[in-house]
């Protein structure tokens, strides 16, 4: 038994999960230290480009209004690409404020300032090397310089979470459960961005585009490459990135930057970034194992939150909201344990119950098969349907002096005949399965 604890709670990692956990603990008047390996908060972090405001409000409450965001993201486009064509679906609600574009360097700096104000002891520039275990329970952490003790440690050290792995809370990742994403931040004039994306000039509008389809440029060679690209508008930059599965990349001997370079050349994307200057390149992993690959979420003296626990819904590009709320629930659990003065696995398992009652485990559960199903149908999503969409719209738009009825008949005939009919049934089956999973999940 440790004689004296230095603190009530130690939080490792100052990202959305860690900061949220630390604030929640500090709000109860408990002593909490938040440890970050970077000198500047957010400088190791990267994401698509927008943070969800509902979760931010939940954690930051009145301070939320001071967030230095760059644009409100409220124009959403889903775009299907082929070599020559693109088909877009756009939903725009100019009054919506559900997501803010903000760079992580600014987001984390802002969150840390509020955390400090609310009583969190923030310790940057400190790398946690390992966890200290005593009598089967985590009793603190070992940094490069010293040992530090607390009855509860919250691990929020991100997707690679070496601490969770070393503690045996999870196995090493499989390649097919991990997305590698690379991104460029491209500087453009503010006005240029507003005209290219049809945005108002008061930063109350911003655009986000998601791209499907990989049957263009050099990527054509890789028939079943499942990838998703994204673009977010900031004040005077846009962020363009792509994610692909590590297994696919390995199998095809592909570098993610090659894919990014091909995307930049696509005729639908090039005009959006033309004349821009890349001011930063970055890469990051995204955990997509979801519900089935979830680690053990607690053990005696320790709780795991955010990306470290694999809390991401890749289908909807949600991750920061899972991090913020799982951090909050981890913090609440720590508070309960401190009240009871009981830090055993049994008491901390309250965290699992809280997650079960929240959207986090409900969504992870209902989406547990979806990414895999989508991968199985990658040829349909990335290649076949974008091609068919193109053919359909060519009939409608080309005025090619052939009777419409014969063209539509040929289209339907080819749609069924062009590949094995069983493929169509597999798509329908996957679609129904996905629909049922989501509707009748939890």
């Amino acid at each position: 038994m440790v004689n004296k604890f230095d603190s009530d709670v130690i939080v490792v990692g100052a990202g959305p999960a860690g900061i949220s956990a630390a604030i929640t603990v500090a709000d109860a008047g408990k002593h909490v230290v938040l440890i970050e390996r970077a000198s500047y908060p957010g400088s190791k972090n990267m994401y698509g480009g927008a943070i969800y405001t509902k979760a931010l409000r939940d954690v930051f409450r009145d301070d939320f209004n001071s967030i230095p965001y760059e644009r409100i993201i409220n124009s959403h486009t889903w775009s299907f690409l082929t070599q020559e064509s693109s088909f877009d679906l756009t939903y725009k609600n100019s009054f919506s404020k559900s997501a803010y574009a903000i760079k992580r360097f600014n987001l984390e700096a802002w969150m840390i300032e509020i955390a400090k104000k609310r009583g969190v002891y923030y310790i940057p520039n400190t790398l946690v090397k390992s966890l200290i275990k005593e009598n089967g329970a985590v009793a603190g952490i070992k940094t490069e310089l010293e040992e530090y003790y607390a009855p509860i440690t919250i691990i929020a050290d991100g997707v690679n979470s070496l601490l969770a792995r070393d503690l045996g809370l999870r196995k090493d990742y499989d390649k097919h459960d991990i997305i590698l994403s690379a991104k460029e931040t491209i500087k453009l004039d503010k006005k240029t961005i507003e005209s290219r994306f049809n945005l108002s000039d008061d930063l109350s509008n911003g655009a986000n585009k998601l791209y499907f389809g990989s049957n263009f440029g050099k990527l054509k060679e890789y028939k079943n490459l499942f990838m998703m690209s994204f673009l977010y508008t900031f004040k005077d930059t846009v962020m363009l990135g792509v994610g692909a599965n590590l297994e696919d990349l390995s199998k095809n001997k592909l570098n993610i930057n090659d894919i990014l370079d091909e995307i930049k050349k696509h005729p639908d994307i090039l005009p959006l970034i033309q004349g821009g200057e890349t001011i930063e390149y970055s890469a990051h992993l995204i955990p997509e194992g979801g519900y089935k690959k979830m680690p053990k979420l607690v053990s005696s003296g320790v709780i795991i939150a955010g990306d470290a626990a694999g809390f991401v819904n890749g289908v909807h590009f949600e991750g920061t909201n899972f991090a913020l709320i799982s951090g909050k629930l981890a913090g609440e659990t720590a508070r309960c344990a401190l009240e009871k003065n009981d830090f055993t696995k049994k008491t901390l398992s309250l965290y699992g119950k809280k997650l079960n009652n929240s959207f986090i485990l409900k969504d992870l559960y209902s989406y547990r098969n979806i990414i895999r199903e989508l991968y199985k149908r990658s040829n349909s999503i990335e290649y076949y349907y974008p091609k068919k969409i193109k053919e359909f719209f060519e009939i409608i738009t080309s005025a090619n002096c052939v009777s419409k009825s014969s063209q539509f008949r040929a289209f339907i005939f080819n749609f069924i005949k062009e590949r094995k009919i069983s493929e169509l049934f597999k798509d329908i089956f996957a679609f129904v399965k996905i629909g049922c999973d989501i509707l009748f999940g939890k």
Binding site: R37, A38, S39, Y40, G42, S43, K44, N45, M46, Y47, K103, R104, F105, P124, N125, T126, L127, T143, E144, V159, N160, L162, D172, Y173, K175, I178, L180, A182, K183, E184, T185, T237, M239, L246, L249, S250, K253, L254, N255, I256, N257, D258, D261, T278, I279, E280, Y281, S282, A283, H284, L285
Partner: protein
């Protein structure tokens, strides 16, 4: 081959946009015995920062840890588990400001 050169230049240009606070020693330790016998050499093409290259003759892997983006793709992709992957020392490594 041409493509390799292009890809390398593309990554080099992009890495030039990033600020690093370089450590004086590597945070990526390879088990070169495994690397020499590795046919896939996945690290040499998977890394988004081209940290790893094969030293043709010996089959050993040359590690330019200074360019590491700390993503962790190499560790998970290595078919032999030959990469001992640590974070750089506190305050070192990549410093992202616009991501």
């Amino acid at each position: 081959m041409q493509e390799n050169i292009e890809n390398e230049k593309s990554i080099q240009d992009k890495l030039a946009t990033i600020k690093y606070n370089c450590d004086s020693e590597t945070h990526l330790i390879l088990n070169q015995e495994k690397c020499v016998n590795c046919k896939e050499k996945t690290c040499t093409f998977i890394c988004p920062a081209n940290v790893y290259s094969s030293d043709g003759a010996s089959g050993k892997i040359v590690v330019q840890y200074e360019n590491c983006l700390e993503c962790g793709a190499c560790r998970i992709s290595c078919p032999n588990g030959a990469i001992e992957w640590h974070y750089p020392k506190a305050g070192h490594g990549v410093v992202l400001k616009h991501s």
